[in-house]
């Protein structure tokens, strides 16, 4: 962990965003994770993404479960409310929070133990329920806080630090998210900030269930020879499908691309997801093809990354439930309590 807190003072010429905030305004408490932890890079990417999107920090609710990854919401967006809940149960808490106030941005941060083992059910059901959220799994294939047990995303044949070889099949959360209807599905790597930041931005602007599986090496327990979640292994086997740019309405388009090189997807709020193709045949709007491709490349030993699926016209839980536009937590006595006259009618029908 870092022992020296950063000074609050910063360079007067640090760039500011549309709200007049610098990146520092999106930071949180000092991280207590190990030096070099992939999770800290993801926190930095979240900070960068929120700053670039000019999101008001207090309009974000940060939700997490238990584990190293779930500690991180304390380390970014210090002006946001956060909730460090129960192991594997962040999805239900986030779902409830979302039902209470549909106007905030919900950012769920979880880990592979939290989402693929103890919370596998809640992960799955929050996705199929189409909660409007950004759900990031900081995936290191290992239980860090309890010192190095395999998690359910550990690859078969992967070796633990103490030498044990994993014999269980891994759960691919991206595959599950695709199957259960997530409308924005990405995989990235904590060591590739250029890829990760735009993926987080796209997810935050996505009005439906957005899932990012972010491989994030554990420097203490899963970064050795024989691990399939180490920095070296992931760099060697990373196969990016595309490079994303998130373009907000007012941004000028500056780069020129050759025809066929770029695919653009416009989201509900007018933001444009521009995907520079790195893989010729890949169509990120075709769910079935995405699932097929994922399995195919996995069999070939590759880790497929990038924006793997996007539904440009998603629906969320509030649409399914047909709730009023006003946040439920803002409705008052007059909106909610039927009153004595209505009760008299109820009584009359019960005699």
């Amino acid at each position: 962990m870092s022992f020296l807190p950063k000074p609050k003072l910063h360079h007067p010429k640090l760039p500011t965003n549309d709200l007049g905030f610098t990146r520092r305004d999106y930071e949180g408490a000092i991280s207590t994770l190990c030096a070099g932890c992939g999770h800290d890079s993801i926190s930095a990417a979240i900070i960068q993404a929120c700053w670039e999107l000019s999101i008001e920090p207090h309009r974000v609710a940060k939700m997490s479960g238990i584990g190293c990854s779930s500690k991180t919401p304390d380390y970014f967006l210090g002006a946001s409310h956060g909730f460090n809940s129960v192991h594997g149960r962040m999805p239900s808490v986030l779902t409830g929070a979302n039902l209470a106030n549909r106007d905030l941005i919900y950012l769920g941060v979880s880990g592979d133990g939290d989402s693929a083992s103890i919370g596998f059910g809640q992960f799955a059901h929050s996705i199929r329920r189409a909660v409007n959220m950004t759900y990031i799994v900081e995936n290191n294939g290992v239980y860090g806080l309890t010192k190095g047990q395999f998690s359910a995303t550990s690859d078969k044949g992967s070796k633990a630090k103490k030498g044990t070889v994993n014999t269980d099949e891994p759960i691919d959360l991206v595959g599950i998210a695709l199957q259960l209807g997530a409308s924005y599905v990405a995989r990235s790597f904590s060591g590739d900030k250029a890829q990760l930041v735009p993926l987080i931005k796209g997810a935050l602007r996505h009005p439906g269930p957005a899932f990012i599986d972010c491989i994030s090496p554990c420097v203490a327990f899963n970064n050795h020879e024989g691990s399939t979640k180490s920095y070296d292994f992931v760099r060697e086997h990373n196969e990016a499908m595309n490079q994303l740019d998130v373009i907000l309405g007012r941004d000028a388009i500056t780069t020129e691309y050759a025809p066929g090189e770029v695919r653009e997807v416009t989201q509900h709020d007018g933001s444009v997801l521009r995907l520079r193709k790195l893989h010729n045949q890949y169509d990120p709007t075709d769910r079935v093809a995405a699932m097929h491709h994922l399995h195919e490349r996995k069999a070939a030993g590759e880790i497929v990354t990038g924006l793997l699926f996007i539904d440009p016209d998603p629906q969320d839980l509030h649409a399914h439930l047909d709730t009023v536009a006003a946040p439920l937590n803002r409705l008052g006595t007059a909106d909610l309590v039927p009153g004595a006259a209505a009760l008299a009618k109820v009584n009359a029908a019960l005699r």
Binding site: H58, G82, R89, T323
Partner: protein
Amino acid sequence: MPRNAVNDFVVKFANVNGSGSASANQLFAKSILRMGIPIASRNIFPSNIQGLPTWFEVRVSGEGHLGRRGGVDLMVAMNPQTWDRDIAEIDSGGYLLYDSTRPMPASRFRDDVQVIGVPLTQICNTAYTDPRQRQLLKNIMYVGALSALLGIEPAVIEQLLAEQYKGKEKLAKPNRDAFHMGRDWALRNLDCPLGLTLQRADAVGDRIYVEGNAAAALGAVYGGATVCAWYPITPSTSLAEAFERHCKRFRTDPNTGKKRYAIVQAEDELASIGVVIGAAWNGARSFTATSGPGISLMQEFVGLAYFAEIPAVIFDVQRAGPSTGMPTRTQQSDLLAAAYASHGDTKHVVLLPEDPRECFDFGAASFDLADRLQTPVFVLLDLDIGMNDWLCEPFAWDDTRQLDRGKVMSAEELEAGRTFGRYLDVDGDGIPFRTYPGTHAQKGAFFTRGTSRDRFAKYTEVGSAYVDNMQRLLKKFDTAKSLVPHPVERHAAQPTRTGVLYYGSSSAAMKEALSALEADGIHLDAMRIRAFPFHDDIMDFIARHDRVFVVEQNRDAQLRTLIMTEGNIDPAKLIPVLHYDGTPITARYIHAAIADRAAAMKVVPFAGAAAE
């Protein structure tokens, strides 16, 4: 000798589950109420949708006793599967009504029971060709026969059918016809009325007849609940379903048709309580409805809500344990599980309604209490109150009442520079202020954890900060004592040193037992407990008496344990009266249990004791 009674007898219907008997039995029950005669009705049913036996018991009580009496005066035996035990259950001198289409050997009857045969199947098969009609209308037909035998006014039945099938004359007519067919056959062929008769009275007043689950759900609507997350489990399912029904009626935006509520049928009870806690954390009133197995599954989350101080409401409609136990039988066996739910040092507010009226009142109040105290609140119903229709006082509401959202700091207050510490006790009542997420751009945000933080929600694992917080939580629980519904005391006709404590669905039987005991010369002061933490009046009551019976419906005397622990009471002083076979406790049972022990302890009137 056949029994003779006016407005005081028990009729039991033995049916096959899924045969459509429920609405006919309801019609029978309601017609008696409409004649101004109080009734207490209970479903006794299996964990099954179709085929297994089910019973419906109607206690007619001109005196107004609403507990289960025990015993049967008239059995309507419509289920061949349970014939023998149904016949055996009839009190000597009672009556048996059965479908006499198929002749039965004399050996299947009892000499001390008057047998009334009505060839229901035969009448039905003559009148109808459609098999479904034959089955459904046979039920209405026995109601017709009963109306002749017991003296139910046919106009009352016709009125009820008209109300039930309002605007659907196509359905009303065959029901009306079947009713008269049964009634006419009885009048022509049987000696009407029986020794058991109904006489119009004026003892119902403006009371309503409703089940506790529906009432609790209505309480949730009036309490301002907007989020409900639940997992289907008997006997609580009809609570969540009633909430949806009430919300469709009362919470649909008249202009847009959109919903001012959100209901999620979750994947399990863990998710249910998680959704509730997430929504409550974010400022929406939310609840779940469950039963004992669900309470077990929710334990971890309930503890988090206690420590993180999140207002969640949990309706627990109790049943006999465990998961594969007797889901359709009643008990009061979750009291300790609710009061001390979770790990670590936790205790929770528990409300104990006695009937549907209190299910409504406490249902609504639970949301104010949860917000005021920022803690989970359990409302403990049981199957007996929850799934049976009870005669109770009508629902009432004061239109000047506002939802009490408790201590929530607003953007204006934050802007004005008011100090905000999420776990800071500013008023001395142990209750801190909270903020809803998104309130203010710079102020009032905090990171929610169970513990390991200071008064300003900053991370710390320092022991003194932990203790400081735990002591404040105790203070808050002490504040709760005066806010929860107070106990209700009923003084004996004569001064006495013996008391009785009871709660929830035992109340009706207790009331009746107290009158019977009084008639025997056994006088008891009685106190009905309505909430945990215990109000000081309860400890005063115990102190004022030499011995106190504690009546409850579980094996381990859970209320007694809770009183002993929380009040530091000598166990010898509290005498348990326990009923836990899954059927509702009866006045006869309480009467016998207390009379027996009172005799052994020589409980005699106070004045007499002084003279000895």
